[in-house]
Amino acid sequence: MKDVSLFIPCTVDLFLPHVGEATAFLLRRAGVKPIYHQAQTCCGQPAMNSGYTQQAKKAAKHFIDLFGDDEAVVSPSGSCTCMVKYHYPEILSDEPEWFGRATELAPRVYELSQYLVDVLKVEDLGATFNGKVAYHESCHILRGLGISEQPQKLISAVKGAQLVPMNQADFCCGFGGEFSVHYPDISESMVQDKIKNFIESNADILLLCEPGCLLNISGYLSRNLPGKKVMHLASFLASNGREER
């Protein structure tokens, strides 16, 4: 059995551990063996996005030391995958040795749905769900990694599930890390638009592949529309749409 290294974002580790477990579960079901480096922490994205490049570099070096020899690194997050795949070589560009290691690692880092569909060629993970679902195209999944078909193929293979179209599915939900903290009014207005489109799609569940969007959208729903449900695709597939903690 092939070993696949789990890259669990800190948001998942702390707030959404079930998403991490679902990731491991799906990989096993797809016939590979997930391994987990206990010393992994954070990929450094918050530091880079806030402008703290030196601190982000420290995170990058730690990550590369830890994951550098893995054959495949898989994460249930698009933005964290982007960080390692595209931003590590950028922020380390002035340190030739590290730049080389970052560049070498980059093609071996995958987002979960991408790894399942493109590499393992698996679409049907045996999940069933009786109802309608919509799919939110998270910014770093869609525009960062160019992933759009893969999650929708995984959803379409779920027995009984109907993937319904949603207006402005490719619009940002208003998370943006520090943005949601510094500009709560704009951010709220954006997530309201997202939820309006979700409700109008008549879907029972909104699915996505990005922990940041999940925290943002579920955080808003929890306060304002607790009946509405948003899930990470991994936990949806692993729990047949039931999930929860």
Partner: protein, 478 residues
């Protein structure tokens, strides 16, 4: 125009409330966005056309000094005069003095963002010369003393009621009407007389062609062509980055600009000027002066990364697609330009210290980059500005961040390379913040860095057992 970039957060908050009260405000960018999508479909290979545009703009910038000299040489050979202005003041003074020398009592203007940038209308007004904007949207905005809401459609946010109100007072409109065509006619009748009597015209430039010394304008109302052909003296104002090497390059930019901007294959009017009226010609100005404005651009040009911001061709596709612009509109950005193109340009023109909001009020969603025909990577520039802001880079007046934030990231980066320290931090944070949780949900934390989050949303409590702890306990579920 007063610079209010530091007030972004308050302005945006006000505008969000406004668009909540008048949801139709959100329709305008969406309409332009949809038109663009339709227009782009007329291209056989969108990605290739956009990439070609990006390559032209990249080459134009890399060769900028040389191309400007070539443009000047050819424009002068065509009979135009070329004037270089280091800053807004120089440009304004030159134009105002010329207008005085020519005895102009008023000036007719074609819509031009760079004249907004240099505050030309204010300077003209101060000197007793009345500037008349002749683009309908710009005319309305001018009458209402509003800044442009959108760089292409400056009054697109205003209602017919508001326009009727101001036209009754200021534009000699005889009867109240909410019919947009009738409002348009009132403006035309009012401006027609200005056009006929005008001796002095000012317009901008969309593209300048180095190899021919030609300037090109794109528009849909014919007012720019009128402005350029009616008066004896014509002043064309352009910023230094408008030049491209060849006419073929310019035609490709025209193709992209019209489609990305309004979804048109071509706008109603494309006019090209290679010098003033020549002997034997019956039309055109007696003299043509091209004012080339720097206003901080050659300084930012020295930074080869920041230079990318100058690629912009002002199509405004990034505004129409931007999820933030769609919520807050153009008034929030606090100066001339708005949306992502303004957010990458204004910090370099004004300094990073007074524009922090502009490069931080973005989710880095990349929608702007995905539509840009000039190949600007806006998110990458925002990250670059943020890093210069944190390091206090003096060249662009980087401003150090609050010390608490710096201390946080230092401690954080120390912890993340030592798993034991990281885990200790997680346990401590869990003990502290989970005290505020009810049923596994935190709705409020007293004060602190993350207060903004809890203003609008909840957060799950930190898991009783993190993924790492669960994995350890179950030995990875094996």
């Amino acid at each position: 125009m007063q610079i209010k970039t530091e007030e972004f957060a308050e302005l945006a908050k006000r505008e969000v409330a406004k668009s909540r009260a008048y949801p139709s405000l959100k329709n305008a960018p969406n309409m332009l966005y949809t038109k663009r999508m339709v227009g782009m479909k007329t291209l056989p290979d969108v990605a290739a056309y956009q990439a070609y545009g990006a390559a032209i703009r990249a080459e134009a910038l890399n060769r900028l000094p040389e191309l400007l000299e070539e443009f000047e040489k050819n424009a002068v050979a065509n009979g135009a005069k070329v004037v270089w202005s280091r800053n807004a003041k120089e440009a304004d003074e030159y134009i105002v003095n010329l207008a005085k020398e020519r005895g102009a009592k008023f000036v007719i203007k074609g819509k031009s963002m760079v004249t907004e940038e240099i505050g030309l209308n204010d300077t003209l007004n101060d000197q007793g010369i009345v500037p008349w904007e002749t683009d309908l949207g710009e005319f309305i905005a001018q009458q209402m003393q509003r800044p442009p809401f959108h760089i292409v459609a400056p009054a697109i946010n205003l209602t017919c009621e508001e326009i009727c109100e101001v036209f009754m007072k200021q534009v000699d409109m005889k009867e109240r009407t909410l019919d947009p065509v009738a409002l348009g006619l009132a403006a035309r009748l009012f401006l027609r007389e200005k056009f006929h009597r005008a001796s002095f015209g000012v317009a901008g430039v969309n593209v300048a062609v180095a190899e021919t010394g030609t300037t090109i304008n794109l528009e849909n109302e014919g007012n720019i062509r009128f402005t350029k052909s009616s008066p004896r003296t014509l002043v064309l104002v352009m910023s230094i980055e408008k030049v491209v090497p060849t006419m073929k390059d310019a035609m490709h930019i025209v193709r992209l600009l019209s489609r990305n901007c309004t979804g048109q294959r071509l706008p109603a009017y494309v006019s090209m000027d290679s010098g003033p009226k020549r002997t034997g010609e019956i039309d055109g100005p007696d003299e043509m002066i091209i004012v080339i404005v720097d206003n901080g651009r050659s300084k930012l040009y020295q930074d080869t990364r920041a230079r990318e911001a100058l690629r912009c061709i002002r199509c405004a596709a990034c505004l129409n697609t931007c999820p933030v612009y769609r919520q807050i509109g153009g008034y929030s950005y606090g100066w001339v330009y708005s949306g992502p193109m303004g957010q990458v340009l204004m910090p370099l023109l004004l300094g990073l210290d007074r524009t922090q909001h502009l490069y931080r009020a973005t989710t880095l969603c990349g929608a702007c980059k995905s539509v840009c025909p000039a190949g600007i990577d806006h998110p990458k520039l925002f990250l670059y500005y943020r890093s210069m802001d944190v390091s206090g880079a003096p060249y662009f007046k980087g401003k150090k961040r609050p010390s608490g934030e710096g201390r946080f990231f230092k401690a954080w980066s120390m912890a993340l390379t030592h798993a034991w320290l990281w885990n200790l931090g997680v346990r401590l944070a869990r003990n502290v913040i989970n005290k505020f949780a009810a049923d596994g949900v935190i709705s409020k934390l007293p004060g602190g860095t993350f207060a903004g989050w809890f203003e609008k949303r909840d957060l799950p409590a930190i898991a009783k057992k993190t993924f790492r702890e669960r994995w350890k306990e179950t030995k990875g579920g094996n």
